[in-house]
Amino acid sequence: MPQVAIDFTRVWEEAHKASVTEPAREKAAYLLRTVGPRIGAAALDLSDARQLKRWAASDDLEPREHDVAARLDALYWIVRAIVGCYSAGVAARFLRSANPQLDDQAPLLVLRSAAEADALRRVLVATRAFLEG
């Protein structure tokens, strides 16, 4: 990996902007290409990864439940920021690992049970702390 200084703040802001402007189809497709359907579905609390694939394949389909749509936005933001700084493999590893800033919960478990904005925010804050060091 080349030793090029990464502007973490810029990557974070760009990922945020994309998370509020990109359509659900693009977010789902990006997650499938990077962390894959298993991690993507688990983090969104989908028992079947084919749902994520359907969103990625159609402009007319998107999450109907507000909670799931909010999780998709947050997960896309997180993965895009980590991929922008490191790689898809690092993003996958981060999501499935115990995290000290989440009381040793795994980010994907906190995301999948997130029913309030505060829970999503906790994972976003932990992600930003991971990137900023």
Binding site: M1, L32, C85, Y86, R93
Partner: protein, 176 residues
């Protein structure tokens, strides 16, 4: 003139040789963001200052930064339950070490030296603890834990866990 004891305290924490920071861009110092503070910030709940974590030994840097890569059995169980994953799909294994190698390869070691120790605080000094204990915000934080308690080193060190974090955060605000 900086008092000798302040210089000695500063040197104890930040030796002349400097301390180490592990990060892909160790020289970067993010700007404070008062409008978007970190909820879990140990000592700066309002995002008023730029925070930089360092350690005197590289192994401590690695232990701290790599603590986000520890296995989580419940997460693995949740991943195993997902259906609809087909051959050819992107899959990452729990024991994949390539991701750790990529992360490590991106890291650089920076050395942090303190050039002016004039503003160091020895936060565990008994005199300072007594003064801080009178600050309204610290009083509120300590009283909410134990109405009869006064700020001491033990309470201050509770900031390492969520229970005591309001105290360390209140102290972080009060010392400014």
């Amino acid at each position: 003139m900086v008092p000798e004891e302040v210089v000695a305290a500063a040197r104890a924490v930040y030796p002349d040789a400097g301390t180490l920071r592990l990060h892909p861009a160790p020289e970067q110092l993010p700007r404070p963001e008062p409008d978007r503070p970190g909820l879990n910030r140990f000592d700066d709940p309002e995002g008023r200052v730029a925070v930089r974590y360092t350690a005197t030994r590289l192994v401590a840097c690695l232990l701290e930064t790599m603590s986000s890569f520890r296995p989580h059995p419940a997460a693995e169980a949740a991943l195993d339950e997902v259906s609809g994953v087909e051959e050819g799909d992107v899959e990452w294994q729990a024991d994949d070490v390539d991701a750790l190698a990529e992360w490590l390869e991106a890291q650089r070691v920076g050395r942090v030296r303190v050039l002016d120790p004039g503003f160091f605080l020895e936060v565990e000094s008994p005199t300072l603890l007594t003064q801080l204990d009178k600050h309204p915000r610290v009083r509120d934080a300590v009283s909410s834990l134990d109405a009869a308690a006064h700020l001491d080193v033990a309470l201050l060190r509770l900031g390492g866990i969520r229970l005591g974090r309001p105290i360390s955060q209140a102290v972080g605000v009060a010392v400014r």
